[in-house]
Symmetry: C2
Subunit: 405 residues, 2 copies
């Protein structure tokens, strides 16, 4: 197949590109390299040394013999170029990662909120409008998030996208299947909720074939392909904005910094290993909806953990201590999370568990590159509201985390 990977230079995008290329597909990376620009803006860098996308593509050709095609294109601002590109290349499938993907970054300032909504919604909607305009019947696979469900669960396992409800009508009770009522907890998560409505409309009005993957927090660094050459290594974010909770713990352990748990650590989250993530995308690609079908939604996660339990797990492996900090997010202190992922298990996914994969991350990645860590960038500083931003908070080493207005 000819596959376009939008955002193919990113954390999950890049290993997906390699995975699909290794399977013999003709892969086109479309990316505006915004994630690299954000590294520059924040003054942070991937823990793992990361080459330019052009260099990575060259190395992959050397290693595998397969060509990767890179196209520099901004989906959100260059609608005409996108449409022309699609009309020329006519991909069979499109994997869409090209959205700003960090909740803390999306809550940093008003400018970051405005950027995230503008970028994510226009990127996704431009793509949908261009597909209709060019008449290309590509299968669109979009990376969503478990976060659209919100974390105030309704007391039942979270189904895969659609919820069965009953309503009272004048002629008696009636069953109805609806999109799970969304309750996003950040501007970033909100954009993925908006995406759902865009997808619903374009599937219904124009028959676009769309799969939306509600992904958990991705952990791990290596896939079978990134291991093939040191310069193919994936990015590993550990800073307070882009570093997700597990990566932060691993890094903190590697540099002898306390594992920082926000609030009580009672937040329960869903996780998936990067190797499983690229495998799920392969499975979703092969299970495309038909024209006229509703949007197909998968929960792309393999296990759930409470944050404080994760901290204990990493502490047990490494001897690190755990520190509790005030939560910069506005969210429930404690939540339950039970998630259905029957569809991917049914398609043959065999999950890599945290229990088996975590130690190699500690040794092969976190300790190996620990000399590249900037300790000052580890704490999460983006606050969800003005009130939270105005509270004085110190990091475990006693430094003030935010300048108080």
């Amino acid at each position: 197949m000819r596959i376009a990977v939008l955002g193919g230079d990113g954390f999950v995008g890049w290993p997906t590109v390699l995975h699909l290329s290794a399977q013999g597909h003709e892969v086109h990376i479309i990316d505006n390299l915004s994630r690299r620009w954000i590294d520059t803006e924040l003054g942070v860098q991937s823990l793992t040394p990361m080459d330019s996308i052009q260099e990575r593509c060259r190395i992959w050709k050397e290693v595998s013999g397969q060509v990767l095609n890179f196209h520099l294109l901004n989906l959100a601002t260059e609608y005409e170029r996108l449409r022309v590109w699609l009309a020329e290349y006519r991909p069979d499938a499109i994997i869409h990662f090209a959205e700003q993907r960090a909740a803390p970054y999306s809550m940093k300032t008003d400018r970051h909120k405005v950027y995230t909504v503008n970028n994510n919604i226009n990127a996704t909607h431009n793509l949908l409008a261009a597909l209709v305009e060019t008449g290309i019947d590509a299968h669109l696979v979009h990376l969503g998030t478990m976060g659209v469900y919100g974390y105030s669960t309704v007391g039942a396992a979270i189904p895969e996208g659609y919820l069965d409800v009953k309503i009272d009508t004048p002629t008696g009770e009636r069953g109805l299947e609806i999109l799970y009522p969304t309750r996003p907890g950040s501007v970033y998560h909100m954009t993925k909720s908006l995406d759902q409505i865009l997808f619903q409309f374009y599937a219904q009005n124009d028959g676009l074939r769309i799969t939306d993957l509600h992904q958990g927090i991705v952990w791990g660094t290596h896939t079978d392909q990134t291991r093939r050459h040191v310069q193919l290594i994936n990015r590993f974010d550990y800073d307070g904005d882009y570093g997700t909770v597990l990566n932060r713990f691993l890094i903190q352990a590697a540099i002898d910094y306390p594992l920082t748990v926000h609030g009580t650590g009672g937040q329960t989250r869903a996780f998936i290993h990067i190797q499983d993530s690229v495998r799920c995308i392969e499975l979703a690609l092969a299970d495309a909806p038909k024209r006229g079908d509703r949007v197909k939604i998968f929960n792309q996660m393999t296990e759930t953990h409470r944050v404080r339990d994760l901290a204990q797990l990493v502490a047990g492996l490494t001897g690190a201590r755990v520190a509790y900090l005030p939560n910069p997010r506005k969210e429930a202190d404690e939540n339950e999370l039970v998630v259905k992922n029957d569809q991917f298990l049914g398609l043959g996914l065999q999950p890599i568990t945290l229990a088996e994969g975590l130690l190699s991350e500690v040794v092969d990645v976190a300790r190996k590159y620990a000399h590249r860590i900037d300790r000052s960038r580890v704490p999460a500083v983006s606050a969800w509201t003005k009130d939270i931003a105005n509270r004085v908070v110190h990091d475990p080493e006693g430094k003030k985390l935010r300048s108080v207005s």
Copy 2:
């Protein structure tokens, strides 16, 4: 109160400005005049001769002694100027009309789809982000649409924004109140569905006080204030994109053109007179939610009618004949529509009915200005899908409506 009316130069915006000014409020109009630019783009004009916004403000001062303040500002593209304006003027309330509001225009071409999403979502989100950033606790009243509910009703009267449902959980059945599951039928309607999620998030995360008015199709031209001077007259759109169904029928009758019903005319729609619309906004303003409340949602409509019944009503008043054309929209041929509007009735709204107000529209507006009508702009030509666009359709006078690709 100091009130900002965003989109205060538009069809409902302008009479709202006058209504609130007449009550003694300090009114600021913020508008980028995009609606006038779209007139230019489409080569159409309001049936009623419409002066510049500056001239209208001058006349209102002469007539009423009240000052109106006009600020030229693009909410969607000038975030910084919006924030600075809010910080300087600190309004007590904000009425937000500033979105592209015609479904056919939003479906015209890919460029119009892209414009509508970009403009509407960024305008609304910029406003929300700027309110949080400036810390202004203004009551935000937004004009939404009945169309977010979609027209495939669930078999019960449409409640005001929130739906009671029951779900099965491992511990038994549980009740839940959710945002009515949205099912928009055009890109325009879709943007109003997205707005709902934006409002839900900002009310929950930042305590913004928001009222969302799900409005029906507005008909009528005059309010008590627009009648006070010929140059204060409201705009009246009759073209195939911006002219809503009832206005189109009135104009068709006035120029002896058949009343064009799309499909079977079995579509049922909700309506409200422009005078009731401005009165509802006044009532909603006075009934503000408290900080921390969820978004308050009203159904802003007073009666429902089937399109073919409306055509018969106008035909009976005027002697016009009715012509059935293929439907350019993708929608159900026939739908029921029962809507609750208990909240506005409870606050004292006394609806003007079609039966009592329609004749004066025919005589005072449609016939009076019939000499300004361009017959060629009356048919609706925007098609909802490529398939519909490719069908050959003739207007009742035998002209081809669309050029076939």
